[in-house]
C-alpha cells in the first residue's frame, strides 16, 4: 500500500520525466483506476465512519496536490514543445490580410446616421429623377420663383422631368406617403447644371432631415442641431443660430460653428467671418405642409440640410471635389 510518504517522492519522479508519453504512464500509475490514489481510497472502506471522514478529507487534499503536480508538468512539457514551434524568425512582418475600404462619403453618412438614429430618425430615400411637382412646386417654389433659377436645374424633359436639385424632394415623398409623426434623414445624390471645377461638381451629396409632430418648435430644432454640431465637430464646438431664408421653411434658420482654425478671430477659411455656415434649417413652411395635405395648425416641424461633400473633403483631407466621384480616389 502506498502511503503519504510515497506521494512525497512524486516531484522527484516528475522531474526526471522528459516526454508526454512518460508522463502519461506515470499519471496512470498514480491516478489510474488501479493507481496509488485509488488504492489509498480503498483502504478507507475499512475504517470507522468518523475515521473515514477525517482520512477521506486528507485523501482528497492529497489527490488535488497530485493532480496539480501533473498539470504543471504537462504545461511544462507543452511549453517546451512550443518553443520548438517558433524556431524561426518571428521578427518578419505578418502576412498582410486584406479588407476593403468604404468610400469617404459612405463613412460620413454612417457617422451622421449614428447620431440621428440614436435620436429616433429613420433613413428615407427617394428617386433621383424627379418631377417638377416634387422638386419645386410642393416645396413652396411655384413656377417663376426666383429660387428655381438658382437651382441650375438639369432637365430631362422640361419643365416636367428633371434631376433632383436637393433631397428636399425626398421629404415631400415622405410627407405624402407616410403617416405622421415622422422623423427622417435623407442622404443622397443631387444634381446641378454646372461645369465642373475643383470646388463645384454637377453631382453632389446632400443630407436633409425632417421632423414633424404635434408641438415641434424652433427650440427643438436648436437642440437637435447644436447636439449634432458637437457630435460631428467635437464637444467644445461653439454654435450660433441666425435668421436665414430658405423658401421651404418659415421661420428660417442658419447654424454656424465658430471657425476652429482661427477660434472666431477671422481667417481665410471662414472668409474672415469667424464662423462657418454648416447647416440650413427652419420650421417647415405652412405652404409645404398644405401641399402635402397636412394641417399646419395641428402639426408643425422642422427641416434642416447641408451638403456632404465639403464635410467629407475636410474629414479626409481631399482638396479637389472632382476626385470624390471620378473613381480616382486611392487609399493610402
Amino acid at each position: 500500500m502506498v502511503t503519504m510518504r510515497d506521494i512525497s517522492t512524486l516531484p522527484n519522479l516528475l522531474a526526471e520525466i522528459k516526454t508526454a508519453e512518460q508522463l502519461a504512464a506515470l499519471e496512470i500509475e498514480y491516478l489510474g483506476r488501479n493507481g496509488h490514489i485509488n488504492a489509498l481510497a480503498r483502504t478507507l472502506q475499512k475504517l470507522s465512519p468518523e475515521e473515514r471522514k477525517e482520512k477521506g478529507a486528507q485523501l482528497n487534499a492529497l489527490k488535488q496536490d497530485v493532480l496539480e503536480l501533473f498539470e504543471r508538468k504537462k504545461d511544462e512539457i507543452q511549453n517546451e514543445q512550443q518553443s520548438h514551434l517558433t524556431d524561426f524568425d518571428t521578427s518578419l512582418p505578418g502576412i498582410k490580410q486584406k479588407s476593403g475600404h468604404l468610400h469617404p462619403t459612405s463613412l460620413v453618412v454612417r457617422e451622421i446616421y449614428e447620431y440621428f438614429t440614436y435620436l429616433g430618425y429613420s433613413v428615407y430615400e427617394g428617386p433621383e429623377i424627379e418631377t417638377e411637382e416634387y422638386n419645386f412646386a410642393k416645396l413652396n417654389l411655384p413656377p417663376d420663383h426666383p429660387a428655381r433659377e438658382l437651382q441650375d436645374t438639369l432637365y430631362i424633359l422640361e419643365p416636367e422631368y428633371l434631376l433632383r436639385t436637393h433631397t428636399s424632394s425626398v421629404e415631400i415623398r415622405c410627407l405624402t406617403q407616410e403617416k405622421l409623426p415622422v422623423k427622417i434623414i435623407t442622404p443622397g445624390k443631387c444634381y446641378r447644371n454646372e461645369n465642373t471645377n475643383a470646388s463645384n461638381n454637377a453631382i453632389f451629396y446632400q443630407l436633409e432631415g425632417l421632423f414633424i409632430d404635434k408641438g415641434v418648435h424652433m427650440g427643438h430644432l436648436k437642440a437637435t442641431l447644436d447636439g449634432f454640431a458637437r457630435f460631428l465637430y467635437g464637444e467644445n464646438t461653439i454654435t450660433r443660430f441666425r435668421c436665414k431664408y430658405y423658401p421651404q421653411v418659415e421661420p428660417g434658420m442658419g447654424m454656424d460653428i465658430q471657425c476652429q482654425l482661427c477660434q472666431g478671430v477671422g481667417c481665410a477659411v471662414c472668409k474672415y467671418r469667424g464662423w462657418l455656415e454648416v447647416v440650413g434649417a427652419g420650421m417647415v413652411h405652412p405652404n409645404m405642409l398644405s401641399a402635402c395635405g397636412i394641417d399646419g395648425e395641428e402639426w408643425s416641424g422642422f427641416a434642416f440640410g447641408f451638403g456632404l461633400d465639403r464635410l467629407v473633403m475636410m474629414r479626409y483631407g481631399i482638396t479637389d471635389i472632382r476626385s470624390l466621384y471620378n473613381g480616382e480616389l486611392v487609399w493610402k
Binding site: A223, R242, Y246
Partner: protein
C-alpha cells in the same frame, strides 16, 4: 436646403448714416445684421473716407438691395428711428395713379401694350435749363456712388443710379429727342428685333422680351438695360424720367436669355411693389429739380390694377408654437413697428398687422412669426431637448440592404467607389438624355456602373496596383414605356476583380465565388439572372448584380440571424476520381452532386487530362457532414454520374 447664390449688397456707412444713427462699431453692426438674416459676406472694406460693408441679401428681400432698406433693418435692430429721404413729388394726381397725359404742347403719353409684363409705369417729362454737360454732380453724391462702386457719369445718369441704390427701385432717363411726339410704348419685342444696348452689344430679341419703345423703335430692354442710342448724353436738355414695376419672372427669363445682369435686372427680377416706383420717381425728380434746376412739364402713370398691401393676423400663440418662445403681444407689436409694420388692431392674443409696401416678402402668418423672433433674437430663444415618443422606424429597405452589402463586400476586400451617374450620350435608345446639360461630356444618365468602375480600375492599374477589387452601389437609369413614369432608375451592385498574375478563368471563377458568397451571407438563393459577368480583359472581370430587380422586400430570404445553430457536425471527406466525356461540363457534374446530395457540404475539385483525349479527368473532393455511410454515398454518386454522364469512375 442648399445655399443658393445670393446677391450681395454693398453699403457705404456714410450713406447709411443719412437715414439712421449708428452708435455701434462696424463689427457690432455686422454681427447684429448677420443675426437678423443679413449675413456679412466679405470683410468690411476701407475706401476713401468711408467704410463699406458687404451683406448677403436674402432672395426674397429686394428692399435690402437698397441703402434705405438696410437702414430700416439697422434702425430696428439697434433701437433707432429711420429717416427716409423726403420729396414733395409725386403730385397728388400721380399718387392716385390717375394721370395718363398732360399739357398740350409738352405731351407725355404712355401706351402699355403688355400689361401682363408691366404692372405700372410712371414717368415725368422734365426740361433742363441747360445741356446736361454743363451740369455737375454734387460731391456728396460722387462720394457715395464711388464708395458703392458705381462710375460717375453725368448728373442725370448719376441721379438715376443714386436712387436705384438708395431706394432699390431702378430708374431710367431717356433723351426726349428719341421719343417722338411724347409717345412712350410698352410692348413685347418683335421676334428677331435688334437692340443695341449700352456698351454696344447687339441683342436679338424675342416676343417674350419687353421693350420700352418710341413710335418707331425700341429704346431699351425694359427693366434691364438702356439702348445705346436713346439714353441721356452731353447734349440732352429734356428727358423722360421713368420708374416701372414689371413681371419679375419675365425680367428674370430675359436676363438669362440675353445674359444681361445689371443693377436694374437684379432688382426687377424680384417683387418690387408698384408703390415703390412712385416713391422712387418722386425722389429722383426732386433731385433733378434740386441739382439740375429742371422743370416738370408733364407726368404720366399707367397703373391698370392697383396693388394693395396685405393685412395679416398674427396670433401670439404662434410665436410659442413655432418659435418656441414666449413673447407678449406688446413686445411683438414693438418689434413689428420698429420694422415699419403698422398694427391695425392689438389684442393680448392677436395682432392685426398691415404690411408696408416695401416688404413684399411678408405673405403669411409664419412670415410675421419670423419677423418677431428674429428681432427678439434667434440666439435668445430657448433650446429644448425634444422629448417626443420616437415615431415608427420607416428606414428604407434599400438603405439597409445596401449597408449590409457594403459590409460583405468590404469583408471580401473590395474597396467602395462612388462614380458619377452622368455620362456622355451614346445614341442608345434606352438612355435618359438631358436637355440642357452645360457639359456635353455629361449629358446623359448611365445605363451601367461598368464605365465608372473601369475608369477607376485603369486609374489604379496606371499607378501600379496589381490586384484590384472595386465595387459600387448605385443606380442605373433607363427610359420606360410606362406613361406614368417615362423614366426608371434602379439599384445595381457592380464590382470589378482584377489580378495581373491570375489567368482569366481564375479571375472569373473568383468573381463568381464572390456572388455566391454574397448570396449565402445575405440569405438569398443564387439565380442565373441575378448577375452578369463580363470579361474586360485577360486579367479583369466586371460583374453587375440586379439587386433591385431580384432582391426586393418580397424575395424569400433566410437571414443569417434566422438560421438555426446546431452543435458542430463532424465532417468527413472522400474523393471520387472520374473520367468524363468532353461533351459534359465538369461544372454541371459538380452541380448535380450538390443538388442531389444535400449532405455534401462542399466540393473542391481538380481537373486533369487523361490519356484519352476525348475525356476530361475530374477529381471531386467532397466534404459531408454528420454521421453517414461514406461508402454507400460514394457508390450512389458514382452510379448516378455513370448513368447520367457516361462517366468512368477510376
Amino acid at each position: 436646403m442648399e445655399n443658393d447664390r445670393i446677391k450681395d449688397m454693398k453699403i457705404p456707412l456714410h450713406w447709411l448714416k443719412e437715414y439712421v444713427d449708428i452708435d455701434v462699431s462696424v463689427n457690432e453692426l455686422t454681427d447684429k445684421l448677420t443675426s437678423i438674416g443679413h449675413m456679412q459676406d466679405k470683410k468690411p472694406e476701407q475706401v476713401e473716407n468711408d467704410t463699406v460693408i458687404d451683406l448677403e441679401v436674402r432672395q426674397n428681400r429686394p428692399d435690402c438691395l437698397s441703402v434705405l432698406g438696410v437702414a430700416r433693418e439697422v434702425a430696428a435692430v439697434t433701437g433707432k428711428l429711420v429717416t427716409a429721404p423726403s420729396a414733395q413729388y409725386p403730385s397728388t394726381a400721380l399718387r392716385t395713379g390717375a394721370v395718363q397725359s398732360t399739357n398740350g404742347k409738352d405731351k407725355l403719353h404712355i401706351e402699355n401694350a403688355a400689361p401682363d409684363l408691366c404692372r405700372r409705369f410712371i414717368a415725368y417729362r422734365i426740361k433742363l435749363p441747360q445741356r446736361n454737360s454743363g451740369l455737375s454732380t454734387p460731391q456728396w453724391m460722387v462720394d457715395r456712388l464711388t464708395a458703392y462702386g458705381i462710375k460717375v457719369i453725368s448728373p442725370l445718369v448719376d441721379i438715376t443710379n443714386y436712387v436705384t441704390i438708395e431706394l432699390g427701385e431702378p430708374l431710367h432717363a431717356f433723351d426726349m429727342r428719341f421719343i417722338e411726339d411724347g409717345e412712350v410704348v410698352f410692348r413685347r419685342a418683335h421676334e428677331g428685333e435688334k437692340l443695341t444696348i449700352l456698351g454696344g452689344r447687339v441683342l436679338t430679341l424675342t416676343n417674350d422680351d419687353l421693350v420700352v419703345a418710341s413710335k418707331s423703335n425700341a429704346l431699351s430692354l425694359a427693366g434691364m438695360i438702356g439702348g445705346a442710342d436713346s439714353g441721356v448724353g452731353p447734349d440732352t436738355t429734356e428727358i423722360v424720367l421713368e420708374a416701372a414695376t414689371y413681371n419679375q419672372a419675365s425680367i428674370r427669363r430675359s436676363s438669362i436669355r440675353h445674359s444681361v445682369r445689371t443693377e436694374a435686372s437684379s432688382r426687377h427680377e424680384k417683387f418690387l411693389h408698384p408703390q415703390l416706383a412712385e416713391v422712387a420717381l418722386g425722389r429722383a425728380a426732386q433731385l433733378v429739380l434740386d441739382i439740375c434746376n429742371g422743370k416738370i412739364v408733364a407726368e404720366a402713370d399707367s397703373y391698370p390694377k392697383p396693388e394693395s398691401t396685405p393685412k395679416i393676423l398674427l396670433r401670439i400663440s404662434e410665436l410659442a408654437r413655432l418659435g418656441g418662445v414666449s413673447i407678449s403681444a406688446n413686445d411683438a407689436s414693438g418689434y413689428l413697428k420698429s420694422l415699419g409694420f403698422s398694427i391695425l388692431n392689438a389684442e393680448l392674443s392677436a395682432l392685426q398687422v398691415s404690411i408696408p409696401y416695401w416688404r413684399t416678402d411678408i405673405l403669411c402668418e409664419a412670415d410675421l412669426v419670423e419677423e418677431v423672433v428674429r428681432m427678439y433674437g434667434y440666439e435668445r430663444t430657448p433650446v429644448v431637448i425634444p422629448a417626443f415618443a420616437p415615431p415608427k422606424n420607416i428606414t428604407s429597405y434599400w438603405f439597409t440592404l445596401e449597408e449590409e452589402i457594403r459590409d460583405i463586400m468590404l469583408a471580401h476586400s473590395f474597396d467602395e467607389h462612388i462614380t458619377e451617374p452622368l455620362t456622355k450620350s451614346d445614341g442608345d435608345t434606352r438612355q435618359v438624355v438631358l436637355q440642357n446639360a452645360l457639359n456635353s461630356q455629361k449629358d446623359a444618365l448611365r445605363l451601367t456602373l461598368q464605365e465608372g468602375l473601369r475608369h477607376a480600375l485603369s486609374h489604379q492599374k496606371k499607378f501600379g496596383r496589381e490586384e484590384v477589387r472595386l465595387f459600387e452601389l448605385g443606380k442605373v437609369y433607363e427610359k420606360a414605356d410606362h406613361p406614368k413614369s417615362p423614366y426608371t432608375e434602379r439599384r445595381q451592385l457592380g464590382f470589378i476583380l482584377h489580378n495581373a498574375h491570375a489567368p482569366t478563368q481564375e479571375v472569373y471563377l473568383r468573381a463568381k465565388g464572390v456572388v455566391d458568397s454574397l448570396c449565402t451571407k445575405l440569405g438569398y438563393t443564387l439565380t442565373d439572372n441575378l448577375y452578369q459577368i463580363s470579361v474586360l480583359d485577360k486579367n479583369s472581370v466586371y460583374v453587375a448584380l440586379e439587386i433591385e430587380r431580384y432582391w426586393s422586400p418580397e424575395t424569400p430570404r433566410v437571414k443569417a440571424d434566422k438560421r438555426l445553430y446546431t452543435s458542430i457536425p463532424h465532417l468527413h471527406t472522400f474523393d471520387i476520381s472520374l473520367y468524363l466525356p468532353k461533351a459534359h461540363q465538369p461544372g454541371v457534374v459538380i452541380q448535380t452532386v450538390k443538388d442531389g446530395w444535400k449532405e455534401v457540404e462542399n466540393i473542391d475539385y481538380e481537373l486533369f487530362q487523361p490519356k484519352d483525349a476525348n475525356m476530361v479527368g475530374l477529381l471531386l473532393k467532397c466534404t459531408v457532414s454528420g454521421a453517414t455511410h461514406k461508402h454507400v454515398l460514394i457508390e450512389a454518386i458514382a452510379e448516378t454520374l455513370k448513368k447520367t454522364y457516361s462517366a468512368i469512375i477510376r
